[in-house]
Symmetry: C2
Subunit: 393 residues, 2 copies
């Protein structure tokens, strides 16, 4: 007899991990609208709108500002495969999992990779980049704006200047930053940028917004060899998103609907208001965590408001606490990646998940869980500390 499968009935979750974040009901609603064909004039107009709205959140006039039809990691790959050719020198800044991943992706494109490293939890030092760039001519400098594995924010402007002085393009990962802190592509002169939909855009995972500067497009059009990925070849994809409307691959219609709605929500809220909301909720969480004796993993002054990487207190079992949060409260928080496994928690306050009630909820849940492990925090003390922050704004 054939196995049968029940109706889909996922448990309700408060998504406070490194993404996906909770999706706004309006976005879920858009996702379930009936399909248009990918060459339907109405759908092509929706693509135009997504292009404009993405330019708004990326703060750019770059024409090629679109959504790659796959998740953020494919956006990373799209940036590298289009800009890098076999034998190109590429400088990659590494201070976490996603910088490491960039090296792997670049090497698979045939790049000679030079690494500039910083300790995990710290940002990259522009001086180290300057020194490394002195040693040669580079096609590309790649850096992560918001390192999802460590919760570190990276200042970009000086490194951008250094890259361009060397004649290199600047590639920036904005997977976790876009929609939560300022991402100013034009002001910072970023040439290639990718993000993901499931973090501060609060859209389901499945698309990767990217933006390529005219300088990047020029370099791509001057390539000697074809882009090694057919699917991610922007010389073809731009002909579908652009005026020519040449069929390349079938666009993920429903996910484009969802992205449009999530961007519309951001526009309604306003970028500055959104960034302030993320900052305030982060600060309240930070203040509450301090009363629980929980320190941040990321260095002070470089902490991401949407991704709070904190050190697990000594003697506390990572998995036990996370399982309890999930089963008792439906809260998902993230564990550490790579060397940080079992060492840190990553508490996301991204997009629609970045809300006062979630800050209070996760603080209460953590306090209770730690008290059960023998800590002695007076009930409600963490939440109370957080409330102190909220009452000041």
């Amino acid at each position: 007899m054939q196995k049968t499968y029940g109706e889909l009935n996922p448990s309700s979750r408060v998504l406070l991990g490194p993404g996906p974040s909770n999706v706004h009901p309006r976005v879920l609603d858009a996702l379930s609208k009936p399909l248009l064909g990918h060459m339907d004039p109405e759908f092509l107009e929706i693509l135009n709108e997504v292009n404009e709205l993405l330019q708004f959140v990326f703060q750019t006039k770059n024409k090629l500002t679109i959504a790659v039809s796959a998740t953020g990691s494919a956006g990373m790959e799209a940036c590298f495969v289009n800009s890098v050719e076999h034998g190109d020198n590429v400088l990659v800044c590494v201070n976490g999992v996603f910088g490491k991943r960039m090296c792997d992706v670049a090497e698979r494109c045939g790049a000679n990779v030079t690494r500039v490293e910083a300790e995990w939890g710290r940002s990259i030092d522009a001086e180290d980049v300057r020194r490394a760039l002195k040693k040669g001519k580079f096609k590309l400098v790649a850096i992560v704006h918001a390192e999802t594995s460590t919760g570190v924010r990276q200042p970009i402007e000086e490194i951008s200047r250094l890259a361009h002085d060397n004649g290199a393009l600047l590639l920036m990962d904005a997977v976790t930053s876009l929609g939560g802190i300022a991402v100013k592509l034009d002001e910072w002169e970023v040439d290639l940028c990718y993000s993901g939909t499931q973090k501060c855009l609060s859209c389901p995972p499945g698309l990767s917004p990217i933006s390529f500067s005219p300088r990047a497009m020029d370099a791509i059009h001057k390539r000697k060899a074809k882009v090694q990925s057919w699917y991610l070849d922007m010389t073809m994809v731009e002909q579908y998103w652009g005026k020519d409307r040449v069929y390349h691959h079938t666009a993920p219609v429903s996910m484009i609907y969802a992205l449009r709605e999530s961007l519309r929500i951001i526009q309604e809220e306003g970028l500055r208001q959104r960034f302030e909301r993320h900052y305030v909720n982060h600060h309240a969480l930070e203040t509450g965590l301090k009363t629980l004796g929980i320190d941040f993993f990321a260095e002070d002054g470089r902490r991401l408001p949407m991704l709070n990487a904190v050190t697990i207190p000594k003697g506390i079992d990572d998995l036990k606490i996370r399982r309890r949060l999930l089963s008792k409260y439906g809260i998902e928080i993230g564990g550490g990646l790579g060397p940080n496994k079992g060492q840190i928690w990553r508490i996301g306050l991204m997009g629609h998940s970045s809300r006062k009630e979630n800050v209070i909820l996760v603080l209460n849940a953590l306090e209770e869980a730690l008290n059960m492990e023998g800590a002695k925090f007076p009930e409600g003390s963490a939440a109370q500390a957080a409330e102190g922050v909220f009452s000041n704004v």
Copy 2:
């Protein structure tokens, strides 16, 4: 002042083109369920179920039977990048756009491509494959099961034997066939297969179901060089879908929900019943079109039931008719690709779109449109002819 964007309100369409097809309301409903995290135990169980249900529709026991987190064309790329290394000899059968695309993808992987061609509208002759294979040792033979550009069905078994006799792996495109006609991976000994969600599975576009045989996995694990695509590297992706659950990239959670539901619907209907439904609706459409003097482009005996490629009658303006169908009836049918542009229409009857009422609707719409162009068909004659077929089953 900032431009504002209205609420998403797509027109209602009857999707009878080459895909996407209309999505079952249950699938749209699943799509809009609240998100689980991609490492949530509940979501991992959903992945297990999708794996099992895909094995069911692919008629295979292949362990690596999963959904690539991107559309069908990325599935094609996943098959090639994993199996092909620089300098490998690859034989590609070309009788339409998607065979041509395979050559491009294979060449970007560094393959030496040998083509076996057939006229567009005809299937590949196994004798031609036999002759071509005599000239050397091949890593891979690639062929399209259902050529979406021409509506041709390709018999696979003999070519599979020839490929294996040569020591080559067999790669098959099942984008348009899966869920509409039999796709028997194990019986036919297909080693690498990819499909898309937006055709006969009637799920939105965005995922590519793939299945790799143990022989294919063995070849992949014995590669000398890393897979050139990080995102599509199945030696890593299999560790997320498999028991290890190693994080690779964030799974497209909502689309996986939708795929699960669409597969569940197929299981409920039964494969044989589904294939029969596709066949009957195709035959009724064919019979109705004959009364309108519309001939099939694909050779007799090799016509796909879900993708009816027909020759546009002399003197009829392709775009004018398609625009009328869209604006007056909300019907989307497809035009021709490449050399067939303006020459053929592609009328899809895929998955949830393959319904008696759609056959009658599109026949009436075409008849009216042709009558307006000066044809003289007695009103309702095409639909009547189709009804004759339905009344016999």
